[in-house]
């Protein structure tokens, strides 16, 4: 962040949320059950009380010491217990078959 602090202050790197990797996104397929999604992605840390059919996976890293910022996000939607759609800012790697789910680019 911009405000000048003392030179060289050691600041703790703050990481938050579930780690989302390319290979996790590749394994996601429409129609998966909740437990299958949980097996691939792990338990979501953001489970909104008001909207049980939607799980949000978010990962932020704010490491001011060596100025590394990371921000990934993936939201999965369920319809009658099955994965109906998921949006993420991580593009699935090429070799995934074309008819993959609607993984449009989430504007960050």
């Amino acid at each position: 962040c911009s405000s000048l602090e003392f030179p060289g202050v050691y600041r703790l790197a703050i990481d938050q949320g579930n780690i989302i990797t390319q290979e996790m996104v590749d394994q996601l397929e429409i129609g998966m059950t909740r437990s299958q999604v949980e097996y691939v992605m792990g338990t979501p840390l953001v489970r909104d009380t008001f909207n049980p059919d939607r799980w949000d996976y978010i990962y932020t890293l704010n490491d001011r010491n060596n100025d590394k910022q990371e921000h990934h996000q993936l939201t999965v939607f369920f319809q009658d217990g099955k994965l109906s759609e998921f949006r993420t800012d991580i593009k699935p790697s090429e070799q995934k078959p074309a008819e993959s789910a609607a993984a449009e680019q989430e504007a960050k």
């Binding site: 003392f6 050691y10 703050i14 792990g42």
Partner: protein
């Protein structure tokens, strides 16, 4: 058979039990019809209360008659003959089983207890213990129970024999065992008393001894334990199958490595060609599990599976890695912080909630809590969140201790006399984590008032900000230093911030105003001498005829003002105050670097800490000087109870610009606590030289007309030597006062301590005891001509001492005792064997 409804209920046989208890327990009431079934329920209900031995229910006409025999109550229990099992423990056991004073006596519970006691004795190896109980009836249906126990003696081990060991002989193997046959110390240590757990432990040691030396198939399962018919001695035989010695042919990693192979390869201690060692396999497993833990896989499992091939006696070891799921921390809770507020603990956390878990961050957070010094101990539990396989909650349990003293404290320490102070020095001010010191303290040598405030977490990253205001008048003579007093007051602001996990930088800016009052007989270094004492205001010319001892003429008192200046002797060297005056306004700036990996804030036992500091009176201050300081200490654990501690402190100060040397009131001192014990505090190093004083004789004499002397004035007066026309001078030595320590501008000090746990003390966390060897001294780069014991730094003149010291953290702060013997004192040094103080830990 249902007879007529009952009109009344009569209870017979009650002695102590109230009828209401019976009625409330009885399921029948007046007006009910009675049948055999209801009678059966009634007696069962009454039995249920546990108060009755016998119950008969019958009808007398239409009146229900309940005849009961009450169970006796216990009036007292006495136990004899129990030494190994404490009486309270036994009584508690009895109480839980329902056998206690005032309770209802049940024979079955007593017999059950008897069997339980025998089992406890047998498990302690007291095979021939025997227990007799008898029950004595007393009036009012009460009984007293007496249990007498013959505990017998503990079966001692007569003979341990290992059969089938060819590679290592009995003697080396038996050395591993905790159980020993009777030896010299056996009566003292209970090592020859048989216990099944100890034997199990010893067999494990035997197992790992062989497994760590290549004997993969070693087996020591068949063990016979036998006792002699008189049950006094135990004989143990261990039959072993050694098997062959195996060497490692390969070691690989397999399963889901998560990290690149080379990253984990360096943790594999098992190499090709090595003799197989189970210890190396286990530590490899632990290292890899820990490494995966740091990557967030807290539930990782790593197992090294050996596959032996018989022919060439080699073994391939495959490390199966199952990382389990990446784990996340859901919530972090604290327990035990009744006084410290939640944020003070939470800001020390390196592991954040709703984030990937990391084993070393979790452990580091625990150590940081202990490093605060507010807690005796900090523990952490990792609890899996039910219903998930990758979420954990952390629970940090702390035990608070007093981190400072609150309220008035009356203290006494030899070097500062009676210490009356009302100070609130709280490092954890009402649990807010802020450090507040407000104190007014008066002792023989110093009265001071100060207020200091420090917020270690001004920003959440640990940038600290604080300020302090102080006023202090010190009479240095009282603390064995040359006689002068200094009054200083001032204020300062300070900041500090971490530059890494263990290092901090600190800055402070301050202003202070010091006035020095040299007092009457100030030493030469402070004020030139000889000098006129302003208290005496007349002089006279001596008229004494030395030959006849009579006065030729009356001596007349002259007023001091008309003393010719020529009468004053040339004062030679100038003192400090002469050169620089007696009041100084200084602006100070300081920078410090501090690094600490100590494991605990107070009474650390592991790690090291060091700090480098520079204090500068910036140009424009009246006195321009700087002081450089270095402090370092390191703990080297020898065994799990003995630790070696090395400590050193160095200091150098000097003037710059037109100030040639460090102002004397900023000198370093040595000796006493936290320095070289065994010498009185602040007495090491250069001494000041006493001032010469103009001769003061007793009252001037005058002669009356008839020639006899007539005393003129009670108060002394200066004596002018008629021959030289100068005031006579008394040089310091005829005062015969010994010289005073004066300190110096170079400090060299260090100590080596062997810390050991004080025996008989249960809670070791607030006590520290150790043997010490101290060495140190104060030197000066500009010794005054007449200064005694003053030298430039050289190691041969370091003063040494050795002894033992104990520190105990009490509710009022650290209480310290030390017994130290000076090893190479010079004649001039003041040594002191016993030293103690309250409020300062060494």
């Amino acid at each position: 058979q249902n007879s007529l409804p009952i009109s009344d209920i009569r209870v017979e046989g009650l002695q102590r039990i109230s009828s209401e208890t019976v009625f409330s327990a009885l399921p029948i009431s007046i007006g009910d019809r009675v049948s055999t079934r209801t009678v059966a329920n009634a007696s069962r209900a009454l039995f249920g209360t546990g108060n009755f031995d016998d119950i008969q229910i019958g009808m007398d006409g239409d009146v229900l008659v309940v005849r009961v025999v009450e169970r006796p109550a216990i009036s007292g229990i006495n136990l004899e003959g129990n030494k190994a099992l404490a009486t309270e423990a036994l009584l508690d056991g009895l109480k839980n089983a329902g056998l206690a004073e005032g309770q209802v006596f049940k024979r079955s519970t007593l017999d059950g207890m008897k069997m339980e006691l025998t089992r406890q004795y047998v498990s302690q190896g007291r095979y021939d213990a025997s227990i007799e109980t008898d029950v004595v009836a007393e009036q009012r249906n009460r009984v007293s129970i007496s249990i007498n126990i013959d505990e017998g003696s503990n079966a001692t081990i007569e003979h341990i024999n290992i059969v089938g060991n060819t590679v290592y002989d009995d003697e080396t193997l038996l050395d591993l065992f905790e159980l020993k046959t009777g030896g010299l110390f056996s009566f003292f240590s209970s090592s020859n008393k048989y216990s099944r757990e100890k034997l199990k432990g010893d067999l494990e040691k035997l197992n790992s001894y062989y497994l760590d030396r290549g004997y993969l198939l070693f087996n020591a399962d068949s063990v016979q334990v036998a006792i002699s018919p008189n049950r006094q001695s135990v004989y143990i035989t261990v039959n072993v199958l050694e098997g062959d010695k195996y060497t490692v042919s390969s070691a690989e990693l397999s399963g889901d490595l998560v990290l690149p192979e080379e990253d984990l390869k360096r943790f594999v201690l098992v190499q090709k060609g090595q003799v197989f060692s189970q210890a190396l396999v286990t530590s490899t497993e632990e290292f890899i599990t820990k490494r995966l833990g740091n990557e967030g896989y807290n539930f990782a499992k790593v197992r090294g599976i050996p596959e032996q091939n018989e022919e060439d006696k080699t073994v391939d070891i495959k490390f199966f890695i199952d990382p389990g799921k990446r784990t996340y921390v859901r919530r972090i809770d604290f327990e035990g912080n009744a006084r410290t507020s939640d944020e003070v603990l939470r800001r020390e956390m390196r592991q954040i909630e709703s984030a990937p878990a990391s084993a070393d961050k979790i452990e580091l957070s625990r150590i940081r809590l202990e490093r605060l010094g507010y807690f005796k101990e900090a523990k952490v539990d990792t609890l899996a969140v039910p219903g998930t396989d990758d979420l954990i909650d952390l629970r940090y349990k702390v035990e608070e201790q007093s981190s400072g003293s609150l309220g008035a404290s009356v203290g006494f320490s030899q070097d500062s006399g009676l210490l009356l102070s009302a100070n609130i020095q709280q490092n954890n001010f009402f649990g807010t984590g802020k450090q507040v010191g407000f104190g007014v303290s008066r002792s023989d040598f110093a009265t001071s008032a100060n207020f200091s405030y420090l917020d270690p977490y001004f920003t959440e990253d640990g940038v600290s900000r604080g300020f302090s205001v102080f006023y202090r008048t010190t009479d240095f003579e009282e603390i064995n230093v040359a006689s002068y007093t200094s009054d200083t007051y001032g204020t300062s602001v300070n900041f500090g911030y971490p530059i890494s996990e263990t290092e901090r930088l600190g800055f402070d800016l301050g202003f202070n105003r010091t006035t020095i009052d040299a007092g009457v007989s100030a030493v030469k270094e402070i004020k030139s001498s000889p000098r006129l004492l302003d208290v005496i205001d007349n002089y006279f010319v001596s008229k004494l005829d030395p030959a006849t001892g009579t006065y030729t003429v009356a001596e007349v008192l002259e007023d001091i003002n008309n003393l010719p200046s020529s009468a004053l002797v040339d004062s030679g060297e100038e003192g400090f105050l002469d050169k620089y005056g007696e009041e100084f306004n200084n602006f100070t700036a300081g920078i410090s670097w501090r690094q600490s990996t100590l494991n605990r804030g107070l009474l650390a036992t592991r790690g090291a800490s060091q700090s480098l500091s520079l204090e500068l009176a910036v140009p424009g201050s009246d006195l321009e000087y700087f002081k450089l300081g270095y402090e370092g200490q390191i703990y080297v654990p020898l065994t799990n109870s003995l630790t070696l501690r090395f400590r050193t402190e160095l200091g150098y100060g000097d003037g710059y610009g037109e100030l040639e040397n460090l102002p004397f009131y900023e000198n370093f001192y040595a000796g006493g606590f936290g320095s070289v014990r065994g010498y009185r505090a602040n007495t090491l190093g250069p001494r000041s030289s006493n001032a010469d004083i103009y001769r003061i004789s007793q009252a001037a004499t005058a002669i009356d007309a008839s020639g006899n002397a007539l005393a003129l004035s009670a108060q002394g007066a200066y004596v002018l030597d008629p021959a030289t026309g100068l005031l006579l001078v008394d040089s310091a030595n005829n005062f015969r006062r010994d010289t005073d320590p004066f300190g110096g501008n170079v400090l060299v000090e260090g100590s080596m301590e062997l810390l050991f746990p004080l025996p008989f003390v249960k809670d070791q966390r607030s006590v520290r005891s150790g043997f010490f060897f101290d060495a140190g001294n104060v030197f000066s780069t500009q010794c005054g001509a007449t200064q005694v014991n003053c030298s430039t730094p050289d190691f041969s003149s370091l003063r040494m001492s050795a002894g033992v010291g104990v520190t105990w953290i009490t509710g009022f702060g650290p209480l310290t005792f030390s017994l130290g013997r000076a090893l190479n004192p010079e004649k001039i040094d003041d040594t002191e064997i016993f030293q103690f103080s309250l409020g300062r830990s060494f």
